[in-house]
């Protein structure tokens, strides 16, 4: 599904540069649910951004679903992001003047689908996250958990190969966090490959594999017994 070889990334800070990722090797198979952990500054978000093609690596190979991701121009990156990836952010990143359904249907707009098709698919995914009744509400009328579920529905809308979640529960309370995790686990059970960046131990425990980063290198990469979130809800 995803293969990364000797990935390096550094950011310029003034005259010097900060080496954030120092040779990452990682491969993720289809159907996995991986937690990427590390303290702040360990490079976990940078890694996720590179995987999500939101950022570019300085050197190293990155192959996604058999396609080498390298030297993409903006247009191609946009197409790949749309086709391969679904994003879930800590701050939800919904467009505040669009209602829930419109937000969910937005990736489909960029896929070039017809309006009717977009509406149908959007509704389908809203139903999946259990918020069909809220289809015509603006994000400002929704709770944090609802917003994140809308965001998940949006990430799912384009039927991506890989779901990328950057601290998906970071802005939520514990109960809501577990609800979201339960839903993500459910998606994983259905076969979706999911990568979650988190610094919360209990969230990581709910994944099937934990990759620990420290100072830009992988310290530990282990399979874990998944803790089902449903038992807390």
């Amino acid at each position: 599904m995803l293969k990364i070889n000797q990935l390096h990334k550094s950011y310029p800070i003034g005259d010097s540069s900060l080496h954030v990722l120092k040779g990452i090797d990682l491969s993720v198979d289809s159907g996995e649910m991986v937690a990427i952990m590390g303290s702040s500054g360990s490079g976990k978000s940078t890694l996720l951004n590179i995987i999500g093609m939101l950022d570019e690596a300085d050197s190293g190979d990155y192959i996604l679903d058999g396609v080498p991701i390298k030297n993409l121009n903006e247009k191609k990156a946009a197409i790949y992001r749309n086709k391969f990836l679904g994003f879930i952010f800590q701050s939800f990143n919904l467009i505040n003047y669009k209602n829930a359904l419109e937000n969910v249907a937005l990736p489909l707009y960029y896929q070039g689908l017809k309006r009717k098709e977009r509406q149908e698919k959007g509704k389908f995914h809203l139903k999946k996250v259990g918020l069909l009744d809220w289809a015509h509400h603006l994000p400002s009328e929704l709770s944090g958990g609802q917003k994140q579920r809308i965001a998940i529905a949006r990430a799912l809308a384009a039927d991506p190969k890989l779901l990328l979640a950057d601290e998906p529960t970071g802005a939520l309370d514990t109960t809501t966090s577990y609800e979201i995790m339960e839903f993500l686990q459910q998606l994983n059970d259905e076969g979706k490959t999911i990568l979650i960046v988190t610094h919360e131990e209990d969230i990581a425990e709910m994944c099937k594999r934990i990759v620990r980063l420290k100072d830009g290198v992988i310290m530990e990469d282990k399979k874990v017994n998944q803790v089902r979130a449903s038992q807390y809800v």
Binding site: K75, R81, K83, I95, Y109, R115, R154
Partner: protein
Amino acid sequence: MFDIDLWREIFQSINKNRLRTLLSGFTVLFAIMLFTILFGIANGLQNTFTEAFADDATNAIFINSGTTTKAYKGMQAGRRIQFDNEDYNYIKDDSGNNIEFMTARIYKNVNASFRNENDSYSVRAVHPDHQFLEKTLMDEGRYINQRDVDEKTKVIVIGSKVEEDLFLKTKALGKYLNLSGIQYKIVGIFSDEGNESEERLIYMPVSTAQQVYGNNDYVDQINLGYNREMNFDQAISFSNSLTKKLKDRFSVAPADQRAVRVRNMAEASKNVNQMTTVLGIIVLIIGMGTLIAGIVGISNIMIFIVKERTKEIGIRKALGASPNSIISIILVESILITAIAGYIGLLIGMGILEIVGPGMKEYFITDPGVSMSLVMSATITLVLAGALAGYLPAKKASKIKPIVALRND
């Protein structure tokens, strides 16, 4: 290529971000409105100036006589100078090809009556050429001709207001009008581009007036039009030499300003031309200033809009929006708003000119108005400026990495 979804996106964005829309809309609306009104007023001022001098021929030279103010060649000051037919002929022979037309003028006041209607009017006894001097327009009949002058016929040409006043609803042409006891045949009715009082005048042949009123050959004023092939300097030197000759002829001191007065319209019309040019430049500066203010305003707003939308752009990019779609969504929105707002501003501006315009005549503003093409090009300039001002930041925003845009809170 018409993309209904793109338009749907844009209309939603316009509709849901009213403040933003209003801000950019009003900037353009006011700029175009002010531009229209200022230009209209300036045009009105210019119209007033051109109209004020359209009345008479611009190449006219008026020669008047008065009393001497300086003793000269043994003669006392206070001597009265009186022109007569000989002086008229002297000027005519002396000037030759330098004059286009020439006429004498005698002023009289008469009491005119027709049936029960009567009123007092000014009579001007003139030569046929007077028609060119005053740019008199014949509505009916003919003007005074050379035969009238030669035969001293008792004919008159009356202004349209005289006909209105004395003949009420009936036709005056061909009828006889009693001027202080003498019957004159009306051979023509005229109108004048100048003011209404010009149309209350009565013209008669100069020779008739000389015979009827005083039986002499005096004339009050001699007017001529210099040859239009002369340039400004030539025209001035022509009238200067004429002044000198006349002063010699009447033994008037060269420095005497009262005895023989020659007024050359070339000077006045040169001043008017300069005035209109200066006015035009002022108008241009004001218009440009308004336009530049509008351009700066819309540019600022566009930069602000793109900044405000940075995060949205990041989200859209993360969801698979291509850079081009980002640029087009911002640009089409700004062009749409500026074009519509500009058009409304244009309509309001023209509406105000239309409503206020007719009442502005006493403030020296005649028919204020602007040419459609001028305002349209001003609007298009603003739209393009807005588009350009939006394009640069939009292009930049479409290039920044989504991750940077998303971090922008």
